[in-house]
Symmetry: C2
Subunit: 216 residues, 2 copies
């Protein structure tokens, strides 16, 4: 059975990487970086996983670091768009915060190999590339802070320290990439749901959203 290649959409996360050989190399690099770390991964290992010779890598990427940069940039953009999609919806801050956490966590769990590279290999990037990525991360921070701030303003949340709580919420979500194991007992959906609830408690949400009837 030959694979019917799907080149676009959310399900094939590296669909935008063209030519096909470049995509294969990038996917191989994600796996290798996530498994062993950037510095412990050799260009020979990446090329080998993609079924090519070491030299083939340098036709599609100038350096090993450029590969990491491409992965990091695309990954951050995807994670950020997941966050923003939920944040820009209409409705109560509690619903938006819960939705954002649920989606963000689910992304980190589902794509935990990518997320691991994205979140933990930041300082393997060169100076310029790193500052570019850091700017993206600040936008994630701003999104979460905005929702929490609005919740406080509207009297939905009780948060004494908005920046600190924002930091903690993002930290909690990001760390999912470190411990999540696909062979573990929890599905990405379950973790997202659990974390959305925990975060609502962290911000002191007045009433839990969804489930309008059950109070207990």
């Amino acid at each position: 059975m030959s694979a019917a290649e799907e080149t676009t959409g959310e399900d094939a996360p590296w669909g935008e990487v063209t030519p096909e050989a470049a995509r294969r190399l990038l996917v191989a690099a994600v796996d290798a970086f996530a498994e062993r770390g950037y510095h412990a991964t050799t260009t020979r290992d990446i090329a080998g996983r993609a079924g090519m010779s070491p030299a083939a890598l340098y036709i599609h990427y100038k350096t090993k670091e450029e590969l990491l940069h491409r992965i990091s940039k695309l990954g951050h953009e995807r994670a950020l768009s997941v966050l923003e999609a939920e944040a820009d919806r209409e409705g109560a801050a509690a619903d938006r915060l819960a939705g954002a956490v649920r989606s963000f966590v689910r992304w980190h769990a589902e794509r935990h190999t990518t997320a691991r590279v994205v979140q933990y290999e930041l300082d393997a990037l060169g100076e310029e590339h790193r500052t570019e990525i850091v700017a993206l991360r600040r936008r994630s921070d701003a999104v979460v802070r905005r929702i929490i701030g609005e919740g406080v303003r509207d009297g939905e949340f009780d948060v004494p320290d908005v920046p600190g709580t924002t930091l903690a919420v993002l930290s909690l979500c990001i760390d999912v990439a470190r411990w999540f194991n696909a062979r573990g007992s929890r599905t990405p959906d379950e973790v997202g749901e659990l974390y959305a609830g925990l975060v609502l408690r962290m911000v002191g949400a007045r009433r839990p959203p969804r489930e309008p009837g059950a109070a207990r």
Copy 2:
């Protein structure tokens, strides 16, 4: 039970590392590993920071990996003892949980270079050493789970998913090592206090302990 000869105790964290040169090398390795990561650090760099020639390292440690193992083991033991000290006290579960989180977080912030190595270089260890360390980490998990379980049993906490919440609490604390910056605006004490409050909310503690009157 051997004579515990502490040179200086908690304030000089590597006091128990006996030949002075070995301690200098270990401290240098902690700095280097935290700054660049294990794989990106060379033995020449470590020796240089300790003011020695590269060969001197191998008089005190068999391999570079053994150095990492020593750091990781001592670090985990210290972090675990910090946790257990607060967990074994008497009193309400909320007080013990808050105390444990406060101390654990403070440790990760104060000793964030050590903590970074301890928490993020686990899979640079060899097979045997890694399983040894993983056992220590499971004990940390057990400590937190026990407190939360007792809080639920005594009706102090409202936690639908005890293992999941335990995981989240520990994850939150551990990730402090990643983002904490000594030149940042928060002191380790402040972060510990903030996180203790957040965790109490996560477990649905009935009433916040300490500070009986003051608000704002």
